[in-house]
């Protein structure tokens, strides 16, 4: 099997996960910075929804499709950054596991009106020791809570950055991603 990089043309792929509750703006965030229209990759699950999905009336349905949105940013000729939006429903954790493997880190997108929605993501990355930051999506440009208040409400470790952003704004999301990568570099220095 060819696993060595035999020529210079195959780039190195780096993954960042975009997590957060349903409807918080994950796809918007990916669209804001991706050089391609966000794509979707689907996985078909067999029996995964049994006892959870209401199949009343469609008893013949035995498969569920999970879609993951993703986007791409070419960093340079050698490095391609992929942003993967995690599937919203909790029962697709096993897909998160695959997404989180080898990931550089994660952005947990939060909406202060529904802060609870991002608890499962925060828990997940804490448990897996995946570096992450919380990006608060300020939809209307109004910052109702300070980053400190949000960190406290989410009971975050003091070293987890909380940043404010606008998921629609390319520059803002660029800054979020830079903050995440810098956070990962800081963690490495502490660990070393």
């Amino acid at each position: 099997m060819a696993s060595e990089r035999s020529d210079g043309h195959v780039p190195l792929a780096v993954k960042i996960l975009i997590a957060g509750g349903f409807g918080v703006g994950k796809t918007t965030l990916v669209s804001a910075v991706s050089e391609i229209r966000p794509l979707q990759t689907e996985e078909v699950l067999t029996n995964a929804g049994i006892g959870i999905d209401d199949v009343h009336g469609v008893e013949g349905k035995r498969t569920t499709t999970v879609a993951m949105d993703f986007g791409r940013i070419s960093i340079n000729q050698d490095i391609v950054l992929y942003l993967f939006g995690t599937p919203g429903q909790d029962r697709f954790w096993f897909l998160w596991d695959e997404l989180a493997l080898g990931a550089l880190g994660a952005v947990v997108l939060a909406d202060t009106r529904r802060l609870n929605d991002c608890f499962p993501s925060v828990d997940y990355f804490e448990r897996r020791s995946t570096p992450f930051l919380v990006a608060v999506n300020c939809f209307d440009g109004v910052q109702k809570h300070s980053a400190t208040q949000i960190a406290k409400a989410l009971d975050l470790d003091p070293d987890v950055p909380v940043v404010l952003c606008d998921a629609r704004d390319r520059r803002s999301i660029k800054d979020v991603l830079i903050a995440l990568v810098e956070h990962v570099m800081t963690l490495k220095q502490v660990a070393a």
């Binding site: 099997m1 043309h9 195959v10 780096v14 996985e43 960093i75 992929y82 080898g102 830079i178 490495k188």
Partner: protein, 126 residues
């Protein structure tokens, strides 16, 4: 698969063929790992005999390196299905795979500092 020959079905109706029919019901690839961000490069002509249309489509799409996730998305096939098809192509040496760096004991490696710095610089330059 993406042909629009029927008035009574559109893409919203979903595939007419059950997803794993293409793979003969196999859910796991014969060989290979196929990470979402592993790159696929074809080393054969799509006209190669005895291939499924889906496998020809893979070869046609991968004259330049394409990630597994992008490939699945472009072909509009489930990820698991694409992995099985890639496994067969790999076994027949019709494609080359470039998987992310992997350590047997640790698993996939997170990017090192040199890469992280390059990513920050690249993002700043966007």
């Amino acid at each position: 698969m993406t042909e629009r020959g029927h008035d009574w079905l559109d893409s919203d109706a979903g595939p007419v063929v059950r997803p794993y029919a293409v793979t003969g019901g196999r859910a796991k690839p014969a060989v290979g790992a196929f990470d979402l961000v592993a790159f696929v490069v074809s080393r054969a002509d799509p006209g190669e005999p005895n291939l499924l249309p889906e496998q020809r489509a893979i070869l046609a799409r991968t004259s330049e390196p394409v990630s597994v996730a992008e490939l699945a998305s472009h072909l509009d096939l489930a990820l698991g299905v694409v992995r099985v098809l890639l496994g067969d192509l790999l076994q027949q040496r019709l494609i080359e795979m470039y998987e992310p760096e992997y350590d047997q004991s640790v698993g996939p490696l997170r990017p090192d500092d040199r890469i992280l710095k390059a990513v920050v610089n690249g993002l700043r330059a966007l």
